[in-house]
């Protein structure tokens, strides 16, 4: 009897002991099973795009640092995050949680892009597609680094993925010039690898035109006027092949039906009803009872509202101050209308894309570069395409300096609330003087860069020294 029971016990132990302790993940994919097929390669690069539309980048954080921080936007009644108010008022510091999230998410995106760049070459798949995917990853890595280097200056340059805890994670900051070199290299490679257009279910991916346009913007920022002009011109000259052009009416550019249309060069993509919607609508529309949830957080300043030339069609298309639905009408202080999606499932889940580069921007970039190169005459052609569409008289007979100022205004009216204003003011060296002139008492010279998040400096002291002034 004892022996029998003994055998039974041992049997139980042997039978069940082996497998019980193994971890058998069923609800997620482990890296060992991934990066094997063409589908994996596509999914891997899709994950990099995911960062573009995340709250850490173009679905929240970038709005504050690029527009709220300027004379275009002020914090409305709905702002309940102190960090946003700090950015609005230039009292932000290294503990600012919006900067924190922006830094974190952008580096997450860079790591995801690095995963693609490291792993996808090892997958045996269609070579053209493989090159395109690598081109997309490099385009996105360049976009992320371009944002970082403009916002924070010297940042750690990482071009391979973080593979294990044994890697050296305490990286140092790379001089901005080297970061720019990498950005230009990535965009140059992307420009080669990416196709002229995307079709059907690939609509929204980075194209050759997007790479060239972004490269133009990089050169413009670096004041490489001729390179900037050349790249912008390549885009303009290939407008036919790339399907680029201006819509007849300014407002057409923001209709959700036109999101894949001729004016979109590269955008953060959103769609309503599939949990991939944009939050911008709720943040821009007023507190109300008939449109839906409105935060009234991202509010146009009186300064920009008063800055328009009479008759500017863009002012009508950009703002609204009354709304009617089901027989009820409400009126309110002017709010931004660019991101209004009447068909949205709800106001926090709208379909509007957030434009990163519009074709109008390319025309203005080219005009700016040409003016700086002394080719003001040529520049009029392009800036006036924009003005004509806005139903304004063309510009003529301006000095180079006056043209420069007129162009800045044109950029402001044309591209407001699209994440350009702060960058434009900084690269033209006018941020501090402009805001100070408009009554911002807190702004200091060092505010042309944001502080590196304290959290990362605490974890990695190699990120010291902090940016000047913080």
């Amino acid at each position: 009897m004892k022996t029998k029971i003994g055998i039974l016990v041992i049997g139980l132990v042997v039978l069940t002991g082996c497998d019980l302790l193994k971890e058998k993940p069923e609800g997620f994919i482990a890296p060992a099973n991934f990066y094997k097929t063409q589908g994996d390669a596509i999914a891997a690069v899709n994950a990099v795009y995911d960062v573009v539309s995340s709250q850490g980048v173009y679905n929240n954080c970038m709005w504050w640092v690029t527009d709220m921080s300027t004379d275009d936007v002020m914090a409305g009644i709905g702002v309940n995050n102190l960090s946003i108010l700090q950015i609005d008022q230039y009292t932000h510091g290294p503990l600012n949680n919006r900067l924190d999230l922006l830094w974190q998410t952008t580096f997450d995106g860079i790591n995801r892009a690095n995963q693609v760049i490291d792993r996808v070459p090892g997958i045996s798949m269609d070579v053209t597609l493989q090159n395109r995917i690598l081109g997309e990853a490099k385009f996105l890595r360049a976009l992320f680094y371009f944002n970082l280097v403009r916002l924070f200056g010297d940042v750690p340059l990482l071009t391979t993925e973080t593979a294990s805890l044994a890697d050296d994670l305490k990286v140092s900051r790379t001089p901005a010039a080297s970061v720019y070199t990498q950005i230009i290299q990535d965009l140059t490679e992307a420009e080669q690898a990416l196709p002229a257009t995307m079709t059907s279910d690939d609509l929204g991916r980075a194209t050759q035109g997007a790479a060239k346009a972004l490269l133009a913007k990089v050169h413009l920022t670096m004041k490489n006027w001729s390179l900037a002009a050349a790249k912008a011109k390549e885009v303009i000259d290939n407008a036919g092949a790339y399907n680029y052009g201006l819509w007849t009416n300014y407002s057409d550019a923001f209709l959700t039906v036109n999101k894949y249309g001729k004016e979109s060069v590269f955008s953060a993509q959103f769609a309503s009803g599939i949990q991939e919607g944009s939050l911008m609508m709720a943040y821009t529309i007023p507190r109300n009872t008939i449109i839906g949830t409105g935060y009234s957080s991202f509010v146009p300043t009186t300064d920009i509202l008063n800055s328009y030339e009479p008759g500017d069609d863009r002012k009508v298309a950009t703002y609204f101050s009354t709304f009617s639905k089901a027989g009820k009408t409400i009126t309110f202080s002017p709010a931004i209308y660019k991101y209004f999606d009447p068909a949205a499932v709800n106001t926090l889940d709208a379909s509007n894309n957030y434009p990163i580069i519009r074709y109008a921007d390319v025309l203005l970039m080219y005009a700016e570069a040409q003016n700086e190169l002394g080719q003001t005459a040529d520049a009029y052609t392009y800036v006036n395409q924009i003005r004509t569409r806005a139903k304004l008289p063309p510009l003529a007979n301006l000095s180079q300096t006056d043209f420069r100022d007129a162009l800045m205004n044109e950029r402001r009216w044309e591209l407001c609330f699209e994440g350009h204003r702060w960058f434009d003011l900084v690269r033209t060296g006018t941020l501090v003087s402009t805001l100070r002139a408009k009554g911002n008492a807190n702004i200091q010279d060092f505010h042309v860069l944001y502080p590196v998040p304290q959290r990362d400096i605490d974890v990695n002291p190699n990120l010291n020294p902090q940016n000047n002034g913080y």
């Binding site: 997620f28 999914a43 702002v79 102190l82 294990s164 805890l165 599939i274």
Partner: protein, 1124 residues
């Protein structure tokens, strides 16, 4: 079945038979037994029966006779040849004839006593005829009878009566009566009952007895349940607190966790929410862990399960709770023992008793206090003042302000008096071989917030069956269904804001309803919150949980003292949460109706195989050995489906398909496994010097590939000084024991798959369609393992003054190493953190429990006191000096900080330093832009500016000490119980205050702001009103950190038990009626709803935060307990 056998131990065992033999004999021999016309008593031998067996062992035959002839054989199994195989065939033969022919050849004599037949092996040479022996017992004997009662004068069924020096015995019947035939008047009767002192009475010439047994005050023979077994209390070497059923039943409780509050030293229980069915958080000897779980392991009737403090276990079923605290006691649970272990034993049937009890109470709950808020006129004044101070126009005209009056009291609108009721019916009892306890429970509690409620229906069946002297089987099975509707408890300043935070902040100027009868939709000042009445009433958030928890066990005695036990268990839980928010609420107005269904299914199993061996060598060396192998595993699945835009609010979550927009469904699957080896040696020499050695090796699926098995040994010694002559000579101590233990335990509560690298899914839009992406979300850590806690415990147990005073005191020191810590990684790596084993935390403390019988006799007064203090300190954080921690609230990102050298649960923020007054040197201060009336902060780092860097530790959520005091007074049937409980030295972060004192006019404020600063009222407490966009909480400020100390009358109960005479008339065994009040008074300086609060529940790093928490209640109850 009233014929249990209270005879001496040697003959308690009935037959030497095994299950296998029974099966074989029934199956093979085809034995048949029939009987008819039974009589009892002395004529038992004339009973006629039939029995037919071939090659069957004597033991089996005797058992068959027992079964059909209603007799009971008693004998010493060592002397009776039970294994002798016999063939018999009797048809309608008297028992006497059968026994004669069966036993005579075996030289076995027999005697009859009552329904017992006593067998005796004849001595060598003793060949006396059987008939002579029978004749000896046959002559009429003296029959004596009587009643056995307990100290409360209630009858004792199942007490045993034995004629001293013989095997002649009976037990009392259901009404405590007995009748026994004895040899002569010189006989001595021994009356005994478990838990009572035995009494010996000389029969003399009396024939009628009323015996009152006194409880055995010496509790040393009490048995204490420990992991995988039970030991005599006197043999315990570890630190274990016991909570008995009568203590548990003192207070009507909804969940097991509440039963622990204030009852045991070293156990801190905090009710995290007063929502019906709400949970508690429990810390045994402080928190060890930062990232891993800190809740103890629960073992319910041998089934280990984590986080069992909730309401799914019916507390009325609990017979006792044991709390294992030191390493000696907990290391038998290895990698799950570091946070302490709570052993729960549910009620089982007792042999010889048949009890039916019915218990019920009905009560009403009310909010303990309301927070005083501004009325409409006062609020309108604040709004205007705030706007004017901010350079804006006033919002309301003076006439409007005056006309608003009191406005809406939103707390009144959402709070109510709510009923609570409980019904418990229990059947228990059993015979020597079969014991049962069957119970049913229904408990229903409405919450004091409109539309919140909880109810539980449960059944329990606990059975024990002794199949033969070697083989026992049994089971525990409980089926529970709970259903609750929880109101939103959110702390956001958004659409998900909870009912209470909304009720506190909503403008009192607005009414509940518009003139057209619809709800006023949302707050019309700055803070975005929905109508709290609509949020409470219109949103459905109901959870239905069905649970099956059960195990079956078998015990087989292989040879004397060696017992093999198998335990198989299952724990299945199915939860569904149905949520619907209609368009009339802010929560779902944008979605035009939002429905979500979440289904969770968990299947867990257990197999434990243990062997115990008990032996006494040379009467001095007492040895108990335990060894075992156990396995436990689980898989669970969660599925969520959600839809929005319903055409109306009729079908809600019952037809998601009728919505126009379907949200993406989600699902997840997890599983885990644990395989363990355990062993324990208990040795004592003369019950004076005691040693326990314990170890467990735990293999867990949660650990990394390189670290699957952890080894957790402990050792303890105890010295019972009271057994030494020199202590005995003092005549002070009835018991005195010194204990010491040291050992290692682990904590594995880190969730599943944390050692593996993982890819997460993400989505992006191409061509308006969702495209799926995969990215790495976690770095692998193959070295991941358990947290290790080393604990030293030194304790003393003593009993003084004839056991009237019992004292237990313990000192402990715990150090936890290899903390499971989400070590912060630089974000530049692409990852926020990685779970690693780094850092350490220490806890040290002192515990004292005193129990005293102040008066005995007719008026009884008993006092029980427990006191504990714990000091906790972070020793190492994996190389960094501090980590911001604690949950954020609106604009506050982290409310706490972990710092080396300080305890866990620090509150972190700015120190307020009064208010800037007119004439102060503001320009020269650290806040040069401030105006008179603005709040002033301390420039901690002295850099001349108030920044994030000036944040400092403002307080800590951990108490300096906690305690409980129960006084129990009784006189005749009247009993008064006063249970006080308290906590001293802890801080509470009252985050409500950040909003209720924000003087921004964006939301309602507390009446404290009536004292706000104005040029004519230079307050130093509340700043001037100003409607800045930054209004509200930006930092944790010291003003929001409050003293959380309290002392409260947790329970006061007055009861009356009916006296025996009345009971007899009513034919009841016992009956008690009582009234009881819970939280009747509380002494505290805390200004929130209740100092017992933790809005973030069991979050280790966010204890003691109050924001929008469900308010606490005062409860008044009336109840009745009846025993049949």
């Amino acid at each position: 079945m009233k014929k249990s056998l209270p005879i001496v131990n040697a003959v308690l065992t009935i037959m030497k038979i095994t299950l296998l033999q029974i099966i074989l004999s029934v199956g093979v021999s085809g034995m048949a037994i029939a009987s008819a016309g039974l009589t009892f008593g002395q004529g038992i031998l004339d009973n006629v029966l039939s029995i037919n067996a071939e090659n069957k062992k004597l033991g089996g035959i005797l058992e068959e006779i027992e079964g059909s002839a209603q007799v009971k054989f008693t004998f010493n199994p060592k002397t009776i040849p039970l294994d002798q195989e016999l063939s018999v065939n009797f048809q309608n033969t008297t028992l006497k004839e059968i026994l004669d022919s069966l036993l005579q050849p075996l030289s076995v004599n027999y005697e009859v006593s009552g329904s017992y037949v006593i067998l005796r092996k004849l001595a060598e040479g003793e060949k006396a005829g059987l008939s002579a022996a029978i004749r000896k017992t046959y002559p009429p004997v003296i029959v004596v009878s009587g009643t056995v009662k307990d100290e409360k004068d209630q009858t004792l069924p199942g007490a045993s009566i034995l004629e001293k020096g013989t095997l002649n015995g009976v037990s009392t019947d259901a009404s405590g009566k007995f009748s026994i035939g004895i040899l002569d008047e010189k006989s001595v009767l021994v009356f005994s009952f478990i838990g009572y002192e035995s009494q010996e009475v000389l029969v003399a010439d009396k024939t009628e007895f009323t015996i009152t047994l006194q409880p055995d005050v010496k509790k040393l023979e009490e048995v204490v349940v420990v992991g995988y077994g039970a030991v005599k209390k006197s043999d315990l070497t570890g630190s274990v607190s016991s909570i008995s059923e009568d203590k548990i039943k003192l207070t009507p409780i909804t969940s097991m966790g509440q039963a622990l509050q204030g009852r045991a030293a070293g156990v801190q229980v905090t009710q995290t929410s007063f929502q019906p069915g709400g949970g508690v958080t429990i810390r045994i000897r402080g928190g060890n862990s930062i990232q891993g779980g800190n809740e103890p392991l629960y073992v319910i009737d041998g089934y280990p399960t984590y986080n069992e403090s909730g309401p799914s276990l019916n507390p009325n079923d609990i017979a006792s709770i044991e709390i294992l605290k030191d390493a000696s006691a907990t290391s038998i649970y290895g990698a799950r023992g570091a946070n302490g272990v709570v052993l729960i034993t549910t009620k089982r049937g007792k042999a010889g008793q048949s009890n039916i009890t019915f218990e019920t109470y009905q009560g009403v709950q009310q909010v303990r206090r309301e927070i005083p808020l501004l009325n409409a006129t006062e609020f309108a004044g604040l709004v205007n003042e705030a706007n004017v101070n901010a350079g804006k126009a006033p919002v309301y005209t003076d006439a409007q302000v005056a006309g608003f009056g009191k406005g809406t009291n939103w707390q009144h609108e959402v709070l109510r008096s709510a009923p609570i009721r409980n019904y418990q019916l229990n059947f228990s009892g059993g015979s020597e071989n079969t014991r049962y306890s069957i119970s049913g429970n229904y408990f229903a509690q409405d919450g004091i917030i409109t539309n919140s409620n909880f109810n539980r229906a449960s059944f329990r069946i606990n059975l024990d069956q002794k199949i033969n002297s070697k083989f026992k089987i049994g089971n525990n099975l409980t089926l529970t269904r709970t259903k609750s509707n929880d109101v939103l408890n959110g702390v956001g300043e958004t659409t998900s804001a909870g009912v209470i935070s909304s009720a506190l902040q909503f403008s009192p100027i607005l009414p509940v309803y518009n003139p057209d009868g619809t709800y006023v939709f949302q707050n019309d000042r700055g803070t975005i919150i929905g109508n709290p009445v609509a949020t409470a009433r219109e949103i459905t958030n109901q959870t239905t949980a069905v649970r099956v928890l059960g195990n079956v066990f078998g015990e087989y005695e292989l040879t004397k003292g060696l017992v093999f036990r198998v335990n198989l268990g299952v724990n299945t839980q199915m939860n569904s949460t149905d949520f619907y928010a209609p368009r009339t609420t802010l929560r779902a107005s944008a979605q035009q109706g939002l429905a979500t269904i979440t289904d969770t299914r968990t299947m867990e199993w257990l197999n434990e195989n243990t062997v115990t061996y008990t032996k006494t060598i040379a009467e001095k060396h007492n040895l108990n050995l335990l060894a075992g192998y156990t396995m436990q595993g689980a898989d669970s699945r969660v599925v969520t489906a959600s839809a929005q835009q319903f055409s109306n609010d009729v079908v809600q979550f019952n037809d998601l398909g009728s919505a126009s927009v379907a949200n993406f469904p989600t699902s997840a699957v997890t599983d885990w496994g644990l395989a363990s080896y355990l062993a324990r040696v208990n040795y004592n020499f003369s019950e004076k010097y005691l040693v326990t050695l314990t170890t467990r090796a735990d293999g867990s699926s949660r650990f990394g590939a390189g670290n699957k098995y952890g080894f957790f040994p402990s050792g303890s010694v105890a010295w019972r000084l009271s057994e030494e002559q020199f202590i005995k000579n003092l005549e002070v101590f009835d018991d005195l024991k010194l204990r010491g233990s040291y050992g290692v335990t682990g904590n594995q509560e880190i969730g599943q798959y944390q050692s593996l690298s993982a890819l997460g899914s993400s989505g992006y839009v191409f061509n308006n369609k969702k495209a799926v992406g995969y990215q790495s979300v976690r770095i692998a850590n193959p070295d991941l393992r358990w947290e290790t806690t080393n604990q030293l415990d030194i304790g003393v147990d003593m009993e003084l003054l004839r056991s009237r005073v019992t004292v237990t005191a313990d000192y402990y020191y715990k150090k936890t190493n290899d903390l499971l810590l989400n070590v912060t990684l630089p974000w530049t790596s692409g990852y926020a953190s990685a779970l690693q084993n780094l850092g350490s935390v220490e806890n040290k403390g002192f515990e004292l429990a005193i129990n005293s019988y102040n008066t005995v006799g007719a008026f009884k007064w008993n006092t029980a006191l427990n006191f504990s203090l714990n000091r906790n300190k972070v020793l190492d954080l994996g190389g960094v000096n501090q980590i911001f921690s604690g949950q954020g609230l609106a604009k506050i990102v982290n409310s706490g900080v972990l710092q080396v050298g300080t305890p866990l649960n620090n509150f972190f923020g700015l120190v307020t330093n009064g208010i800037f007054q007119t004439g102060d040197n503001i320009a020269g201060s650290a806040q040069p832009n401030a105006l008179p009336g603005d709040r002033r902060y301390v420039d901690v780092n002295g850099d001349g500016a108030i920044t994030d860097a000036d944040r400092t530790i403002l307080g800590n959520a951990q108490p300096k000490f906690i305690g409980g005091l129960t006084n129990n007074f009784s006189y005749k049937g009247v009993e008064l119980i006063i249970f006080l409980q308290g906590s001293y030295g802890n801080n509470i972060f009252n985050a409500n205050r950040l909003w209720l004192e924000n003087v921004a006019g964006s939301n309602n404020n507390s009446t404290a702001v009536l004292n706000r600063w104005t040029p004519t009222n230079p307050s130093n407490e509340i700043p001037r009103a100003t409607a800045s966009a930054a209004g509200g909480a930006n930092f944790v400020i010291s003003r929001a950190i409050e003293n959380g100390s309290y002392l409260r009358a947790k329970v006061i109960t007055l009861s009356y038990s009916l006296q025996p005479g009345v009971l007899k008339t009513l034919r009841l065994k016992n009956a008690k009626i009582y009234i009881s009040g819970q939280n009747l008074f509380t002494i505290t300086h805390y200004t929130g709803y209740d100092p017992e609060v933790s809005v973030f529940g069991q979050d280790n790093l966010s204890m003691g935060t109050d924001y929008g928490t469900y308010p606490s209640t005062k409860t008044y109850l009336m109840g009745i307990n009846i025993g049949l």
